[in-house]
């Protein structure tokens, strides 16, 4: 069993010819990720980084049997790129693009309803399964195949958690950056569920941020489980008091959720070990597994 990607995963890149797409696909290919093609409208028929380029996602899928796509398309066109992949019935879509207008993501979410596509992101560093491959921008060379599942809303802090679990020898079963946008694809709760059902995963690191309710929802999900695997969480922005608020509605809609304090309380109540410094993630996880 593997999380979202395995040895049969064949990846195409939408936006492969751009600067970002080129840079990251080159590195992913070098590290063994099976990138089998790319999409760039108007450049169909070309070869880039040694793989064929197609005009559309469905052409690329037909020719390469791809079942996953990673998207490096500028924000103005990124939602259309996701929708194109969903319409082509792509199994897994990872969107790295940041700064997509939220109403574009509302359209994407509506499109995802009733489809079988799993969307990771946007505004995500992507996902990595050590030993199999990386889809996105996570750096090579910091991973160690192992037992810890990592799910994170913050790109750079994801690497921090990876680094610490590599140094203490635990390693990672998979690492999923879900992105920090208000409207996105796969939720933190769903990632936790995947890790809870994964034989290889022995413990999970959850990295959250102030704002939104992803962590509270994750806590609610964990509370429904009997005897879950140990979870260590860190919430970035704990030393940040509430700032300028978004009208009354921003407070009312979340009903006393969304702050570092409410997230930490909810997670602790669900049995999660919440650390107060990001430097403690690795040791806390090791401690949980020793018990």
């Amino acid at each position: 069993m593997s999380i979202l990607v395995d040895r049969t995963t064949r990846v195409i890149c939408q936006g492969i010819t751009g600067r970002q797409g080129t840079f990251h696909c080159e590195r992913a290919l070098a590290s063994g990720t099976r990138i089998v093609g790319g999409v760039r409208q108007g450049k169909g028929g070309a070869t880039h980084l040694g793989v064929p380029v197609f005009d559309t996602v469905s052409e690329a899928m037909q020719a390469t049997q791809a079942n996953a796509s990673v998207i490096f398309v500028p924000p103005a066109n990124a939602a259309e790129a996701i929708i194109e992949a969903v319409d082509a019935e792509m199994g897994l879509v990872v969107c790295v693009t940041e700064r997509i207008p939220v109403l574009d993501m509302v359209r994407v979410r509506a499109h995802l309803k009733g489809s079988n596509t799993v969307l990771v992101g946007p505004n995500s560093p992507g996902l990595a399964v050590p030993g199999i491959g990386t889809l996105g921008i996570m750096p090579q060379g910091i991973f160690l195949p192992g037992a810890i599942g990592i799910v994170s809303r913050s790109s750079t802090l994801t690497y921090e958690a990876v680094d610490q679990t590599t140094r203490n020898g635990l390693g990672q079963s998979a690492c999923i950056g879900i992105g920090a946008d208000p409207v996105g694809g796969i939720s933190a709760s769903r990632c936790l569920e995947l890790f809870m059902n994964d034989d290889r995963t022995q413990g999970v690191v959850l990295i959250g941020e102030v704002g939104g309710t992803a962590e509270e929802n994750a806590a609610a999900f964990l509370s429904t489980l009997t005897n879950p695997k140990p979870v260590v969480a860190y919430i970035a922005g704990q030393t940040v008091p509430e700032g300028r608020r978004m009208g009354h509605a921003g407070t009312i809609i979340h009903y006393g959720m969304g702050t570092a304090r409410t997230k930490i309380e909810a997670l602790r109540e669900a049995g999660v070990r919440v650390v107060s410094s990001p430097a403690e993630i690795g040791t806390a996880m090791a401690g949980c597994l020793d018990q």
């Binding site: 700064r99 921008i137 913050s154 300028r244 509605a249």
Partner: protein, 423 residues
């Protein structure tokens, strides 16, 4: 991006949403003239800041002056405007520092039979806009709704660009509005939704919406937040952006595309990635250190911009040590950071303790370059030891925990960063 009330009302007026005639004033004289132009009074004078809660808010150093004042005489309009302008207003929705009042908005005061709270914003969980409404509108709306959750009406608006009148009729019915105002209310909800979609808003809020004895509706307040990510296709909204609440250093940072906030501690921080930058502040604060700034440099290829970021931090005379915490990934490579630092050092020699925590892409290359430079540095293998070194380097003072000042300003930036996710 936040709009002022008068800007939000101008947008609403354009869409046909009923608002009162009002005039913006930035001086006592203009306020006096405005009062005369608007008729006989009484008048309401409203501080224009980028946050709500003004009726509950206090002007610093004043026991009695609030962000919304009512008066009966023209002379008092001028006097009140003069007292408000240039002052800082602190409300439950601002940071503790409050926001400076650079303009007031003057409107006739009217009587409302019923005050409704009405808002549209993004519901992140459902991934679509939602309409929130309550008949408990007014300055106490949050408390009143928390006390009586059943008074909150919540209707999902779906992903389509248009909603039918039936949606507003449903909201009106759930609110229990009398039948003679329901058609007008339903039309208003439809207009608000159209404005929300057309202008790429992340929040539109009317509190209160006055429902008057003659069945007319009028928006007495208006709060609008625009999705920053959509400003590229909303040039008219981008033009309304106010830069008055930024310091010179923050302005300089913004020009270079950095997220920079000056704090009042003495430990400088340099990070790439908002999460890592926040975690760096957390780690320093956790050990009793006081961060001098928040800096998130987005992934860049140009060494010159990295140099600018270092010069910006080093321009703070109060800084006593500096931690560089960078995890190279993607196009952000550690050697770019090292080269930028060395260039900055040539322009302005670095004399304070400097702690480098470099990991990820090209970290070994960066470290070897820095080691050969002769610059006096400490290398930290991880964030925990780096934070320890930099706090010791700042010759740590007795722990005055400074979470408050860390910040309002940081939080302000955060809340602006993700306009759809209200924190």
């Amino acid at each position: 991006m936040y709009l002022f009330e008068y800007q939000a009302k101008a947008l609403m007026r354009e869409k046909g949403i009923p608002v009162l005639e009002g005039i913006v004033a930035t001086s006592e004289q203009r306020a006096l003239d405005a009062a005369r132009e608007l008729g006989e009074g009484p008048w309401v004078i409203k501080a224009q800041i980028h946050a709500g809660g003004r009726a509950e808010g206090r002007v610093c150093d004043s026991e009695h002056l609030r962000g919304i004042e009512f008066t009966d005489t023209v002379l008092e309009v001028g006097r009140t405007a003069a007292r408000l302008l240039g002052e800082n207003l602190v409300t439950p929705q601002t940071t503790r520092q409050g926001e400076t009042i650079n303009a007031v908005y003057i409107e006739p005061e009217i009587r409302a039979e019923l005050q409704v709270f009405l808002a549209i914003l993004i519901d992140g969980d459902r991934g679509e806009p939602v309409c929130l409404a309550s008949v408990k509108g007014g300055s106490q709306v949050e408390r009143d709704i928390f006390d009586d959750p059943n008074s909150l009406v919540r209707v999902s608006l779906g992903a389509a660009d248009h909603i039918g009148l039936d949606v507003g009729q449903d909201v009106a019915a759930q609110l229990g509005l009398r039948s003679s105002v329901r058609d007008a209310f339903a039309q208003l909800v439809q207009q608000l939704h159209a404005l929300f979609v057309d202008r790429d808003l992340s929040l539109i809020e009317i509190n209160p919406l006055a429902i008057r004895a003659n069945d007319s509706l009028v928006a007495l307040d208006a709060r609008v937040t625009v999705d920053d990510n959509a400003l590229y296709r909303q040039p008219a909204m981008a033009a309304l952006a106010s830069r008055t609440d930024r310091s010179e250093a923050e302005e300089r940072a913004a020009k270079n595309g950095f997220n920079f906030i000056r704090l009042d501690g003495d430990v400088g921080t340099f990070s790439s990635g908002a999460g890592l930058a926040m975690a760096t502040l957390d780690a320093v604060s956790h050990l009793g250190g006081r961060p001098a700034n928040f800096l998130d440099v987005p992934p860049v290829l140009e060494v010159s911009r990295v140099k600018e970021a270092f010069l910006l931090i080093l321009s703070d005379p109060g800084i006593k040590s500096l931690i560089v915490n960078v995890f190279g990934a993607g196009i952000m490579r550690c050697d770019t950071i090292a080269d930028g630092l060395l260039l900055a050092h040539l322009e302005q020699p670095v004399t304070i303790p400097l702690v480098m925590r470099l990991a990820g892409t090209n970290a070994p290359l960066a470290i070897s370059r820095l080691e050969r430079s002769g610059l006096s540095l400490q290398f930290a293998p991880d964030l925990a030891s780096g934070a320890q070194m930099v706090v010791e380097g700042a010759d740590r003072r007795p722990a005055t925990h400074n979470a408050d000042s860390i910040a309002g300003r940081l939080a302000q930036w955060l809340s602006g960063r993700n306009p759809g996710s209200s924190s």
